[in-house]
Symmetry: C2
Subunit: 224 residues, 2 copies
DNA sequence: GCAAAAGTGTTAGACTTACACCCATGT
DNA sequence: ACATGGGTGTAAGTCTAACACTTTTGC
């Protein structure tokens, strides 16, 4: 039986936060500062060892909450990274998950000395192979948002189409036509109108929508 | 550090072989008969433990060749299965790969007493959670063939468009219009004409094509 | 010539994109 | 009134599916 191989989980956690200067919504992710070798003082993805009594998805959710006190609205396995030289000295296989959290949740993050949010497109040099992992997670998010209803997970129970469009635009980094976006959402079965309307705003009230069908796709089986 | 968790690899190996009766090309995969508990005498996916000195992809390729003496034309990670109760008695995390092999290769498979090819759509009850794994691999293959150039991996260096179309039809289990298929292939950058033509066949000779660009996509990094 | 598969042309419909324009609200 | 974003209409362009038709071989 295999031995001497450490089995870990890590998480790439995406949330939308306003950019420091421009104020526009931008993808961010929380990183943890390492306090020991290897890569002492480098920033790294939140993670930890897999316990014998928990599934991989549970381990990811646990370690995610432990380091950031966040609970994800969406959690999916990204990839198992198992190159021999990923970690100096030790042999570690990391099963990496990616997660989306609501903006409301983010507000109550425990922002300790050693946990910080970074703009996803402007990261420092991370520990291990974590830069590549983030790149891959970003690619996956941007691909998946085009064919699966994941963007909703950034928002609350109900939302306007403008808010949802804002999420898409932040992820894809390009403007979308409001008229066409509306029709595409109507055509897809992703959202349904609630009948409620917003009252705020110095303009015509917008209808509120909610997510409709649970995420589709024969993914192996629903994570946590 | 994690301990007491076995780390294994398994492989879902697809090849096209003529159906026993109809003679049509059908997706097949090789299974291995288990010779000990648990699931003694059940059929299972080829697999084995990960060695400390090899990457996950290498482990998959090694175990794949060890049990079937096949070398894949395509190899990609499918998923890491890590539920607690996957295996009775022991805790095992399996990183599963899926592979495509050329029909020529298949001819020289070592078909021992304990290795047998099964039609992918007509499997017995397998050991562990292997039926679900195969279902997921099938879904992945059928999805991926629609947007990525993987079908070529079932064929040799050169092939006619009719042969390639046959591969698509076998995977997708529906007929494709030859005229439209030709144009779609021409539009995509997947294949290019060689200038050579077939001579066999009691009909107009067909031009031979070859695969063009290597598989695309920011997959994490190229496996083996 | 005839059958069979290779390969080309053509058209109807679906979907995408761009953008003009009207609607309902706060100030 | 008018600025602002919500929401509808519409037409051009692109992509897809279906199928008629011509080409080139073996028998």
């Amino acid at each position: 039986m295999s031995d001497g191989i450490g089995l870990a989980v890590s998480a790439v956690i995406f949330a939308l936060r306003p950019h420091r200067e421009s104020g526009e919504q931008v993808l961010h992710l929380p990183l943890v500062r390492r306090l020991r070798a290897p890569f002492d003082d480098h920033w790294a993805l939140p993670g930890g060892w897999v316990d014998e009594a928990e599934s991989l998805a549970d381990a990811a959710a646990r370690t995610l909450e432990a380091t950031t006190s966040l609970r994800p609205a969406y959690l999916e396995q990204l990839y198992a990274f198992g190159e021999v030289e990923r970690s100096p000295d030790a042999r570690v296989v990391s099963v990496v998950y990616w997660a989306l959290v609501r903006s409301e949740e983010v507000a109550r993050t425990r922002v300790g000395q050693n946990v910080r949010w970074f703009a996803a497109d402007d990261l420092p040099t991370l520990a291990f192979d974590h830069n590549r992992i983030v790149d891959y997670a970003l690619w996956r998010l941007r691909s998946k948002v085009e064919y699966a209803p994941v963007a909703q997970s950034f928002l609350g129970e109900t939302f306007t189409l403008a808010e949802l469009r804002g999420v898409y635009e932040a992820i894809l980094q390009r403007p979308l036509d409001p008229a066409n976006f509306r029709r595409q959402m109507a055509a897809s079965d992703e959202v349904e109108p609630t009948g409620e309307f917003t009252t705020t705003g110095r303009h015509r009230p917008a209808q509120l929508f909610r997510s409709k069908a649970a995420p589709t796709a024969p993914s192996p089986w629903r994570a946590s």
